[in-house]
C-alpha cells in the first residue's frame, strides 16, 4: 500500500518557535509538495520539490522554508511561527503531475500556533 506519512497529526506551538513538519513517502516519487488548507481558501501550495535538494516556491512561500536532503523526505520549516500560520498542513507526492498522474496525500498535520 502506497504511503505518505506526516510526522504529527496535531501540533501546538508558541509564537516565535521554529517548527519542523516532516513528510516521508515510500513510492520513490520525484515530486513532493507542501500545501496548507484553510476554510474558504482551499489548498494553497507553499513549496514543492521535483528532485533531491531542488525546491521551488509555490503560491504562498512567505514565512516558510523547506528541505529535501533525501528523495523520500520533504520537510517544511516555519522559521518563526506566527498565529496566522495556524492551519492544516498537507504533504503530497506524485510521479509527474504534468502527465495527470495521481497526487498521494498524507493524513495532514493540524498546527495551532498560540
Amino acid at each position: 500500500d502506497v504511503k505518505v506519512t506526516q510526522s504529527s497529526r496535531y501540533l501546538v506551538k508558541r509564537t516565535g518557535e521554529k517548527v519542523f513538519l516532516e513528510c516521508v513517502q515510500d513510492m520513490d516519487h520525484e515530486n513532493m509538495f507542501w500545501y496548507r488548507q484553510d476554510p474558504g481558501l482551499g489548498l494553497r501550495l507553499i513549496y514543492f520539490s521535483y528532485d533531491v535538494k531542488m525546491k521551488e516556491k509555490g503560491d504562498i512561500p512567505e514565512g516558510y522554508s523547506v528541505s529535501r536532503e533525501k528523495k523520500e523526505r520533504f520537510s517544511l520549516i516555519l522559521e518563526s511561527a506566527s498565529t496566522n500560520q495556524t492551519s492544516m498542513y498537507l504533504c503530497a507526492s506524485s510521479l509527474n503531475p504534468g502527465l495527470g498522474t495521481e497526487a498521494f496525500f498524507g493524513q495532514g498535520t493540524r498546527l495551532t500556533v498560540v
Partner: protein, 110 residues
C-alpha cells in the same frame, strides 16, 4: 483569483437523492482530477479525465470533462451517507503543479 471555481460550495441532501457539483475555469487544462477528502484526512484521488467530452463512471459517481477542457462536473446517483465529504477538483497548472478549487462540501443525511 481562483483558477478553478467550484459550485455549490456546500450541498446537503437526503440519502437516495441525486446531486451534481461543478468545477469551472477560464483556462484550458490538459487533464483534470477529482479528489474526495473526509474530515481529518488527506484528499484521495477518485478520477482523472484527460480528453474533452470524456465521461468516466466510478460506481454511482459520473465524471464529465467539458468539450473545451475548461470545466468538469461530478454527478452522484442515489447518494449514500458514505458519499459525504469535500470534493476537490484539480487541474495541471504547468511546471508540475496542480491548482485546486476550494471544494464542494457534500453532506448526505441518512
Amino acid at each position: 483569483t481562483q483558477l478553478l471555481e467550484q459550485s455549490p460550495q456546500f450541498l446537503s441532501i437526503q440519502e437516495g437523492e441525486n446531486l451534481t457539483v461543478y468545477c469551472n475555469s477560464s483556462s484550458v487544462f490538459s487533464s483534470l482530477q477529482w479528489y474526495r477528502q473526509e474530515p481529518g484526512e488527506g484528499p484521495v484521488l477518485l478520477v482523472t479525465v484527460v480528453t474533452g467530452g470524456e465521461v468516466k463512471k466510478l460506481k454511482r459517481l459520473t465524471f464529465q470533462f467539458g468539450d473545451a477542457r475548461k470545466d468538469s462536473s461530478l454527478h452522484i446517483t442515489a447518494a449514500q451517507p458514505g458519499d459525504t465529504g469535500l470534493y476537490l477538483c484539480a487541474g495541471e497548472k504547468g511546471n508540475n503543479r496542480l491548482a485546486f478549487g476550494k471544494g464542494n462540501q457534500v453532506v448526505v443525511i441518512p
